[in-house]
């Protein structure tokens, strides 16, 4: 039992012990252990010395000198006597400008791809009333879609449509921007817009 206790070092508790962050049971565990374990006792002593040094030295770091305090007081008093906007000058002068610039950049970043896409679509697939009719009836029931496809395609039956066309309908619905068949399905027939 004693040997087990000795080997189970309490180094992980030492910092918390010194900082006063342990409960009564764990504090007792540390106290009892260091009585028997020289290694942990040494570690505890080292930790306590550093804590003592910090307590002693930290309050001495940054001691102001009289000239400094007088200088800052002059600034403080001059400042509080001057009526001013609730927000500081530095913040009010550049933050809104930065915000607007970021918003403009974001809008450009979003708009550029859309513009580029619409340009590509315009070149690849000019406006066709028939193709719009097919897309407009894509979401209702399969029966009505079939009817629309059949009426748009004339003699071509929906059941005999190429596989690529069947895949096109959900793809069109999923995209925020209506995409022409030629840009979505590279293998689709080039005359798909005529349906």
């Amino acid at each position: 039992m004693g040997a087990t206790m000795f080997h189970r070092h309490i180094t992980h508790l030492i910092a918390r012990y010194v900082q006063g962050q342990l409960g009564p049971a764990q504090r007792a565990q540390v106290v009892n252990h260091v009585r028997a374990c020289a290694r942990c006792r040494e570690a505890l002593a080292r930790e306590e010395r550093i804590a003592a040094d910090l307590r002693r030295e930290m309050p001495c770091i940054g001691q102001p000198h009289p000239g400094q305090m007088a200088r800052v007081w002059a600034g403080v008093w001059a400042d509080i006597q001057t009526p001013r906007q609730p927000t500081g000058p530095r913040r009010s002068s550049w933050v809104p400008g930065l915000g607007m610039a970021l918003a403009a950049l974001l809008m450009i970043a979003l708009a550029l791809p859309l513009l580029a896409q619409s340009g590509m679509r315009a070149e690849a697939a000019p406006f066709e009333p028939g193709s719009n009719l097919v897309r407009g009836t894509a979401s209702p029931t399969p029966g009505s879609t079939d009817e629309a496809l059949a009426s748009a395609a004339g003699s071509v039956s929906a059941r005999t449509l190429p596989q690529a066309t069947v895949a096109l309908v959900p793809a069109v619905g999923a995209s925020p921007v209506p995409m022409p068949a030629s840009t979505l399905v590279p293998d689709a027939p080039t005359d798909a817009a005529d349906w």
């Binding site: 900082q19 962050q21 910090l54 309050p59 940054g62 001691q63 800052v72």
Partner: protein
């Protein structure tokens, strides 16, 4: 001109006991300059030490002190005694301004000599022997150097805990984090400081403690 509070008279307990604070605040709100001056004398040195311990640059600490006190003096009506001590409110403002200062400016590397000559006054009594004074000086230099290796958040924790003698609860309120986080930051800082101090410094420390 402002009277500077001697270091020995500025423990946290003295600052915490402010029986005349409500009256001082009321006088400030009425525009009484002497009341502002009294508050300044009472709190500015501790706030400066806090800002300096976190930023480690004299000019930045002065700027932060001025910004913090101007904000506090202009917004005295926002201080709610039910929510905490006045000094805790001031420390919260100061820490927030320190963080802003860090964001605004990439902190320059400063030499240890600069750090020591600016902010650290030798606290060793004149009665100590030259050897002991030299040893403490060495230790102080080592600690100051080690402080510089801490991250800003850990330095805040050390400055509040050891520099200002605050409780973990107060620290958590000021740093805007749970109490457990404040505790672990102090612990981590401790660990890093111990590692940052070289073996030679450790030996000097041992020697010093044996004197």
């Amino acid at each position: 001109m402002t009277k500077i509070e001697p270091r020995s008279q500025a423990p946290a307990e003295r600052i915490a006991n402010d029986p005349d604070l409500p009256e001082l605040i009321a006088r400030c709100q009425a525009g009484d300059q002497s009341a502002f001056a009294t508050l300044y004398e009472r709190y500015a040195p501790a706030l400066y030490r806090l800002a300096y311990s976190v930023l480690l640059v004299e000019q930045d600490a002065e700027d932060v002190l001025q910004e913090s006190l101007v904000y506090a003096f202009r917004n005295l009506n926002r201080y709610d005694p039910a929510r905490g001590a006045f000094r805790t409110w001031l420390y919260t403002i100061t820490i927030s301004r320190c963080r802003n200062a860090r964001r605004r400016k990439w902190l320059p590397t400063i030499t240890l000599g600069h750090l020591l000559s600016l902010g650290v006054e030798p606290p060793t009594p004149a009665t100590e022997s030259p050897e002991v004074r030299a040893a403490w000086q060495e230790l102080r230099a080592s600690l100051a150097q080690a402080l510089h290796t801490l991250s800003p958040r850990l330095r805040e924790a050390v400055a509040l805990r050891y520099g200002q003698g605050l409780t973990y609860r107060e620290m958590a309120e000021i740093m805007g984090c749970p109490q457990k986080t404040a505790e672990s930051r102090v612990r981590l800082a401790h660990e890093q400081l111990r590692k940052a101090m070289s073996a030679a410094d450790q030996a000097a420390l041992e020697e010093l403690w044996s004197i």
